[in-house]
Amino acid sequence: MSEYILELKGVTKIFPGVKALDRVQFQLKAGEIHALIGENGAGKSTLIKVITGVHKPDEGEIFINGERVNFRGPKDAQKAGIAAIYQHVTAYPHLTVTENIFMGHEIVRNKVVQWKEMHKEASELLAKLDADFSATDEMQSLSVAQQQLVEIAKALSMKAKIIIMDEPTAALSKNESERLYEVTEKLRDDGASIIFISHRFDDIFRLASRATVLRDSKYIDQFDIEGVTEKELITAMVGREITEMFPKIDVEIGEDVLRVEGLSRTGFFKDVSFNVREGEILGLTGLVGSRRTEVVEAIYGITKLDKGHVYLNGKEIHVKGPRHAMELGIGLLPEDRQQQGLILDWGLGRNVTLPVMKDISKKGITDEAKERSLSKNLLETVGVKALSIFDKASSLSGGNQQKVVVAKQLASKLKVIILDEPTKGVDVGAKAAIYEIIGELAKQGYAIILISSEMPEILGLCDRVVVMCEGRVTGEFDRREVSQEKILEKAMAKRTIG
């Protein structure tokens, strides 16, 4: 019998062009809550997928209770008692909550699914989690936070020995989080071992007994939580002092460029007002589910506003759609760069010029020479690491893909650039490069709205910060007065009340 219920040794996973895990080790003791921390793109998600059998490691070994295992698929991992709560991917939108909770491990007697029992147990689980919805609700009618609760209930219902929670509290209020802490501790006391992934140091210090840090797909260190400081963890995660990453260039801030007043969209956000000026970087932050993305998508014309006014250079505009927005001078770097930002099958060059086809064509006929030189220019400006403009977008790393998306914006003549989580899943080196580009853009006089969940980014880059919570603006701070605590307080403003 080994000391560890789960142990990984020298696990390496390679995706085409990317080394997602590089000789990573990990040890989970029986009955502990173990935090797995690291920046976005550090390899946490891949590690989880290896543990749950979704990905097969290219190298390395996995041991459960000291015995070497070889998962052929997720089923094997489930049989070994491993359950995972993923962030978003696992919901079945058209099915009810009960069906979601029990999908794949229904209560079966004589091969017959026992709906009554399942409903009962689902209701009990939901009650335990203090949920404000019923087990018969359809999944797609729930909010993100509620769906997360369902995912947690699902893992609880599996009664697994090893439970992996991938940022379970990201969208939960303080009360809900506290509730989850209790449940998690109870699970541990009942004998489960838990891997807990979180960005919140609150969670880690409140719950975990040990922590493993990953960075750039590599194992960095392992800490006992007792006796470690937040700063030590951050240093391990980031690998250097934070400040050096944000060389804030001082820029002369000019006139109002974009001003929005009282934007509302039923069920999503209400009464959102803010403004951004020439050369200014405005931070828009909040927790998951604070509807920042929905607000900028409405400004960009992806969705329709129910109420509110948008002014560009003092003139009211009514954006009909993305093309119109771009013609007016508003650009958006979407949150999900693989789904919304890029056509992965296409070469870089064509991706860059897609928004400006009209400018590089005569009477609708594409001028390919012009196209090539334009895209070459822009891609070189943002410093994309690739061989040629014909390389497929899918062959690039996350950071370089993001640079391509930035280059796409530069192709159009814009006044306002909205960046939605531009550094999500980007490695540290590329992050610095992207920060540099953002700074440079501000210097050139663009008005920039930066959406980010990463506090250091907001604190380091922005001239002003607007904080949202559940579809409303709850705070606005100047660069000089802003602090992490103030932002968090406002970001959770309503939740603490509710």
Binding site: G53, V54, V89, K111, V113, S141, S143
Partner: protein, 332 residues
């Protein structure tokens, strides 16, 4: 809890479709009293029992986001093979004849499933291909002949007109259709395998992560569709006491229409047996009821097409309203 369920029930698509059907039925009844007679209802259900059986199979295919337009050809091929066996061996029992059709149909479906799941061919293309192949084979295997009534043994001909499966309660074909509906309902709701079909259709990625073998589910579903199409072939031959090479031609459109009217989403993941049954009954009422109220034969298709288009649009509007309501609720 109960209160919520009641509200849900009223909101449910099936109920609104049911109400519309009843109103439609009353409308026809007022124009022609012959419609509502037990005899006519019985006839209608018998004639469209194959459509019901096929629609249930099609639902499971649509649930996983697929489509099968080869069912008319599978029906013909399986039905023809079974009829030929009966012709050449007059003492073939009803059970054996049906089993032959079911096995032939199942094999056709299995090949469809393999081509789609393992060969990576899009369902519409794969089944378009097998639609042509099987129709050609049907003519070839029958050597361009029909199997005539006198060549089919009494037992098999009587099967479609008797009530012995339900001990004299209802016609055999209706009985089979409803038993299959019931089995499908239980299968989809009360077995793990059935749940997996919904999982794959709702979120294939999530299904894969939770360890469901997607290609196995696909193969299973297409095979089931084949089995049901084969069964329908046998029922068809028994009902019409003959087998022609062109039987079931174009029936796939009726069947898909029945599913869509019944609320099955072509994108996968949504659909219920009850809805599909109601959809099939809608198609049956159009086919049986409209001639009764003197709607010209020539207007039937236009009306049918208009109803399909309007139903799917109405469905979208209802869904939107529902979403809006839940968003409004969230606002407070």
């Amino acid at each position: 809890m109960d209160k919520i369920n009641l509200k849900k029930l009223i909101n449910a698509r099936e109920v609104s479709l049911f109400i519309v059907l009843i109103l439609f039925g009353i409308f026809i009844q007022l124009r022609n009293p012959a419609f509502g007679t037990p005899k006519n209802i019985n006839n209608m259900l018998i004639n469209y029992s194959t459509t019901m059986v096929l629609a249930i199979g099609m639902m499971s295919v649509l649930l996983i986001g697929g489509i099968d337009i080869s069912i008319g050809s599978i029906l013909a091929f399986a039905g023809m093979v079974s009829a030929l066996v009966i012709r050449d061996n007059p003492d073939t029992s009803v059970f054996v004849a049906i089993m032959i059709a079911v096995i032939v149909g199942g094999l056709c479906g299995l090949i469809n499933g393999l081509v789609i799941a393992k060969g990576g061919v899009p369902p519409i293309i794969a089944t378009m291909g097998s639609m042509n192949i099987l129709r050609g084979l049907t003519y070839l295997v029958a050597n361009n002949e029909w199997v005539a009534a006198y060549q089919i043994n009494e037992g098999f001909k009587k099967f479609a007109m008797s009530k012995y499966l339900s001990f004299g309660l209802i016609n055999n074909l209706i009985f089979i259709a409803f038993v299959i509906a019931l089995v499908a309902y239980c299968f989809l709701k009360y077995t793990r395998l059935g749940r997996k079909i919904y999982a794959v259709g709702n979120n294939a990625q999530a299904a894969e992560i939770s360890g469901i073998n997607i290609s196995r589910i696909k193969i299973l579903v297409y095979t089931l569709m084949g089995i049901l199409a084969g069964l329908s072939g046998a029922l068809w031959v028994s009902l019409y006491a003959s087998a022609q090479g062109d039987m079931g031609m174009g029936i796939e459109m009726d069947v898909i229409a029945a599913c869509v009217i019944g609320g099955v989403s072509l994108a996968g993941g949504r659909g219920s047996v009850v809805g599909v049954l109601l959809g099939a009954i809608t198609i049956a009422m159009l086919g049986n009821g409209l001639p009764l109220i003197g709607v010209s034969q020539f207007s039937l298709d236009a009306i049918k097409g208009a109803i399909i288009v309007l139903t799917v649009i109405l469905n979208v509007l209802l869904q939107r309203q529902k979403l809006k309501n839940s968003l409004r609720r969230r606002e407070i």
